[in-house]
């Protein structure tokens, strides 16, 4: 087999409920700070869940310099544009007119296109009595501005990102619910390896913190209803956990060929070393109790990275804080890692950030890269009561744990049964 392209992570950008920069987010995660609180974006007082993990103090009007482009950008697009800008600034490299065709872009994009305000406008003009009458759209006072339409296309985020940063090579958007971000990075890795591009930026963005998004999850009973103690509501692997906390945000990673990154003297966080993904083919919202599906994704990711279970020192779990997900994930880790299970640290940073849905896998990939660089396994916050069915893992409780991390895994398990597992390696371990 010929020499495979090795992929270096050289830049990270994050906008999360913990902080509007990578540094702020990472400091908050290390300290176990919670990003959850009462929902303030709209009046959620009548909903069964009234808490969420909002991005706070974000300057929406100055997310990027291009005002014209900004007009087409929704809330989550603005997170994305800003996080991607941070990632390029951090990497110290960005596409130029000369190499734009050799740069690629992969995003895990959220499913919500239409904002609640836009839906209200359609309601007002075409469904005031509750029943949709299409002719209402033709009334002269309905805003005929195609900008709202352009803002709500499935690839609007990708369109704005490629234009803003001048990327003209392979570009795509994926959506597999909660595993979108992980699958975006996995796709990026494959595109790099097969030589379609020389460098990429990949990540995810989402915001379902609006009346429709919150409704969707409330109706399914998937969210924690601990409305009086929002900062403790997300407690993955804790015996009293009762659902996830809906978050929002964006995270992007700049990926370069290892040799090119070394040649220009770039700081390399970690190698994006392996990708595994599978379909559970079980039920749309449930993860199989026996770990079937996640098991194959984790195994493939390790094999793809050419690593063994004993090489892994840290796992950033999907760990949503729902009863079923966390148990299934523990079963899967047990099945793959066997005797090595007590020897690596596990935490779910959703305990602090909440669940960023389509951005979750990307944010958690960024966390793995940061954990490797700094030698710190971030804390799984809010753990107090053991769950006998989750006690097989070596959970990072209490506070973050300084430790050497040679390699890390990040799992993402989505509605619809798509499972993604990514493997990361420390540069010293790569070059040893």
């Amino acid at each position: 087999m010929s020499q495979r392209v090795r992929v270096a992570i050289t830049g990270i950008g994050m906008v999360t409920p913990i902080g509007n920069t990578t540094a702020e987010t990472w400091a908050g995660l290390r300290a176990g700070k919670s990003g959850a609180g009462p929902i303030t974006i709209f009046d959620a007082s009548g909903f069964s869940t009234r808490i969420g993990a909002e991005v706070k103090g974000f300057d929406f009007e100055n997310a990027i310099a291009d005002r014209k482009l900004l007009k087409l950008a929704s809330r989550s697009h603005r997170f994305a544009l800003n996080a991607a800008e941070q990632a390029f600034a951090d990497a110290g490299i960005r596409p130029t007119a000369a190499d734009a065709e050799r740069w690629g872009f992969v995003v895990g994009a959220g499913m919500m296109g239409v904002s609640y305000e836009e839906l209200e406008s359609v309601h007002r003009h075409a469904a005031a009595d509750g029943e949709f009458n299409p002719d209402g759209l033709l009334s002269p006072d309905y805003p005929a501005d195609p900008i709202a339409f352009c803002r709500t296309q499935t690839n609007t985020g990708l369109s704005l990102l490629t234009k803003n940063f001048g990327i003209r090579g392979y570009a795509t958007a994926v959506h597999t619910a909660c595993s979108s971000g992980g699958q975006a990075l996995g796709t990026a890795l494959k595109v790099m390896r097969r030589g379609n591009v020389d460098a990429m930026i990949a990540g995810g963005f989402d915001s379902m913190l609006n009346p429709i998004g919150l409704s969707g999850f409330c109706l399914l009973g998937a969210l924690s209803t601990d409305n009086d103690t929002p900062e403790r509501a997300s407690r993955p692997f804790d015996g009293t956990r009762n659902g996830f906390v809906l978050g929002e945000g964006a995270a992007f990673l700049v990926l370069e060929k290892w040799e090119s990154a070394r040649a220009r003297g770039a700081m390399i966080y970690a190698e994006l070393a392996g990708d595994g993904n599978s379909l559970s083919c079980y039920r749309i919202t449930d993860t199989p109790p026996d770990g079937d599906g996640p098991i194959q994704a984790i195994c493939q990711s390790l094999a793809d990275a050419r690593l063994k279970p004993e090489d892994i020192d840290y796992v950033n779990a999907h760990g949503t804080s729902t009863m079923m997900n966390d148990r299934s994930e523990c079963v899967a880790l047990g099945a793959v890692m066997g005797d090595h299970l007590p020897n690596f640290a596990v935490s779910s940073t959703k305990s602090c950030m909440g669940h960023l849905i389509a951005a979750a896998g990307a944010a958690e990939a960024a966390v793995c890269a940061l954990a490797i660089r700094d030698g710190i396994a971030p804390v799984n916050a809010n753990f107090a009561t053991p769950d006998p069915q989750c006690s097989n893992i070596n959970l990072v409780t209490g506070q973050s744990r300084p430790m050497r991390i040679r390699a890390a895994l990040s799992n993402s398990l989505g509605f619809g049964g798509s499972n993604s597992s990514l493997t990361f390696r420390h540069p010293d371990f790569v070059e040893a």
Partner: protein
Amino acid sequence: MSNSPRIAITGSGAVCGAGLTVEKIWAAVINGQSAVTPITQWDAARWPVKVAAGVNGVKNQELVEDRKLHKSISRTDIFGIYAGGEAIKSSGIPSHRETLDAAMVPHFNDRSGLVVGSGGGTYSSNYEYFPLMTESGGDMRKFGAELGSSVNPMWLLKNLPNNVLCHVGIRHMFKGTNACITNQCAGGVLAVAEAAESLRTDEADRIAAVGHDTPIEPETVFGYHKLGLLSRDVLRPFDRTRSGTIFGEGAAAVMLEKFDNAQARKATILGEFLGHGCVTEAMGVVDLRPDGDGPARAIALALLDAGITTADVGMIVAHGNGTPASDASEAKGILCAFGGNPPPVTAFKWCVGHLLAASGILDLVLAIEALRHGVVPGVPTLNEVAAEFSSLPVSRDPQRPRSDVALVLCRGFGGMNVALVVRAAKP
């Protein structure tokens, strides 16, 4: 890619306004029968655009029998699940699996992948909230409190963009590598490209690719109309008088396998996937470059990936959506990539309409049929090729392909341009 394994196409499936089978749709194309009819999804009598190529008069149950499933999926999912199932079944893989030793089946399933290009959802899915919005009269507290008694608890699941991936997976136990691509019109063709790559890199032994979409709904028609992209009557690709595109709806799918495996199990091989190229023009959501940069680069990359030259290409299935700007720049891109001497060009949207995320993969399925029948279908709505690209060899009449290789072009919002190259097997 000389070292990578050859990829066989062993099954296909499609549904659109022109029919529920590949044969029916091909017959409509070759017989010059357009599926464009008056819109039936709503009363469009007062609308500036009144036509589309809808799948009319077909009950959901005819496509997917499981009535329980209908409650938790949407119309676009029905099409995708149906077409995906047809491609998988027609490949003979399910019956082949039944001949395997039971102990081998789990591994077989884990090595069976699935990639879907999804339209990503509809505007009308949100309309389920309208009664609640009316009742609560802008009082958000009331909206939240009465939510449970007004909206279907399955609402979110019904509208997941990745439903086809989930349900085709469950129905056929394809548990391997997977992705759901939500890149507007490029979704279906990118699904094929990513599926092919997972065979090349040995992530899977067999993999289905599906594209599905349902753009015939008021807000989408309204938006495209306001952008000046829709024709009021006839889609005339590359014509001097072309006035826009016309929506279609449905799905298409192909089954890809490692060539050696397909031969070993004596599968019927429809064709061979040769290569792909994908680029963006980075012009924002709807703008495109007038010089054809995107199509030209996508074609060059696809030919390079396929390891062939322009002289090897026997026919081109163009995106040909009938809009003034897209057709002009596409023609320029083709002429540029082929040095002014392209093989016969055709396009199919005049017949089936523009299926957005499913458009390019449906074109691929029909391109294979065209090669197998040894004919490049004519474009009956074409009166006169526009003067600015009059050397484009597109014709009202059928032409003969120069070889057994076709190039399929697909374009989309975001400046997306994707080219696929396939070779047909001898029928």
